[in-house]
Symmetry: C2
Subunit: 147 residues, 2 copies
DNA sequence: CTTTCTGCAAACGATTTGCAGCAGC
DNA sequence: GCTGCTGCAAATCGTTTGCAGAAAG
C-alpha cells in the first residue's frame, strides 16, 4: 500500500541519502499507529526482532531525515514521535506520577496566542523560533484513581 | 543576610525533614543568580569544592522540598532551576544547535490563553494540570551569527 | 550524642559504537 | 558488486549508590 505517509517518508529518506529498509518502514508504522510518543522498550515490544541498537540507529537516521522527532518527558526515557508535518500539530499531557505522555490537539485560541508571543520574542531576543512545545504536566486519570 | 528566599528555603527544607547545610544554601544561591536553568557541570564550576555526587543528592533533596525543579532541554544534560513560586513564572528559549537554555518572561496574553486551554483539557481528558511548560525551540542569536 | 550529610570510588542503565556478515539499490 | 544496514557484544557517560568519617541539630 502506498499511502501519502509512506511516499513522504521514502522521499525524505532518499533526500537524506538514507536507504529505505523494512525496519525503518516498520518504525514509521509503529509510531504512526500510536496516539502518543513511544519509548524504546515500547517500540521493541511491537517489533521484537529489531535489535535495540538498530532501533536507536534507525530512529536517528529518521530524525535526521525529518521523519521522526525525539521528545523528553519527566522520566529517564527518550520518546519518539513522527515529525509534526507528517501528523497534526499537537501538545502533550505528561503525568508526573507514572511518566505517561499523551497527545492532545492544540486548541486554535492557544495557537494564535503562542504565535503572537513568538513574534514578539523573536524581535526582542534575536532568537529564531523553529517550533514550540506546550506541555501540560500533572496527574493523569489513571493515577488519580489509584491514590 | 536573611532574604525572603533564604527564609522560604529553610522552611521548606525543615518541612521535608531535611537539614540546612552550606552546600544546599550555596546551590540555591547559584541557581538564584543565574537567569537560566543550569547543568551540573555549570553548577560545579561555581562551587568546585562540591562533590558531583553531593550535588546530585542535594538537588534531589531540594527538589523534594519544592525548592528546585529539574527541566529537560534538547541535549543529554539535566538542568536545574528554582521552583517557580520562588521566582517568576517564565518560559524557555532552547537552542537546537548548541543546547543553550534561556529564560523568557511569559507574555500575559499567552498566559491567559494557556489557562483557558488548560481548563478545557482538564474537563475533556480527566487530567489534573499542575503546571505547564512552554518552550520555544530554534536558533539562538549566538549560533545564528556563527553560520 | 544521634542522625543526616559529605566525598570518594564503584555501580548503574539508557544510549552509542566496533565489527563481521547481510540487504538495498 | 559496492555501500550502507543489521545484530551482537562491548564501551560510553550522565547519574546513582555504598561506605566511613564529618557536621547539623
Amino acid at each position: 500500500m502506498l499511502t501519502d505517509l509512506r511516499v513522504a517518508v521514502i522521499q525524505r529518506l532518499h533526500g537524506a541519502n538514507q536507504r529505505v529498509t523494512r525496519n525503518r518502514e516498520a518504525l514509521v508504522e509503529i509510531l504512526s499507529d500510536a496516539s502518543r510518543p513511544m519509548t524504546l522498550p515500547e517500540i521493541l515490544k511491537e517489533r521484537p526482532t529489531l535489535a535495540q541498537s538498530s532501533a536507536y540507529r534507525n530512529l536517528l537516521a529518521l530524525e535526521q531525515a525529518n521523519v521522526v522527532r525525539r521528545v523528553g518527558g519527566v522520566d529517564e526515557f527518550a520518546r519518539f514521535e513522527l515529525a509534526e508535518d507528517l501528523t497534526e500539530h499537537h501538545h502533550h499531557l505528561i503525568c508526573d506520577r507514572c511518566g505517561a505522555v499523551e497527545d492532545v490537539d492544540a486548541p486554535p485560541g492557544l495557537e494564535s496566542a503562542v504565535d503572537k508571543a513568538v513574534a514578539e520574542i523573536e524581535v526582542s531576543h534575536g532568537f529564531l523560533v523553529r517550533h514550540h512545545r506546550v506541555d501540560l504536566v500533572g496527574i493523569c486519570a489513571k493515577c488519580a484513581t489509584i491514590k
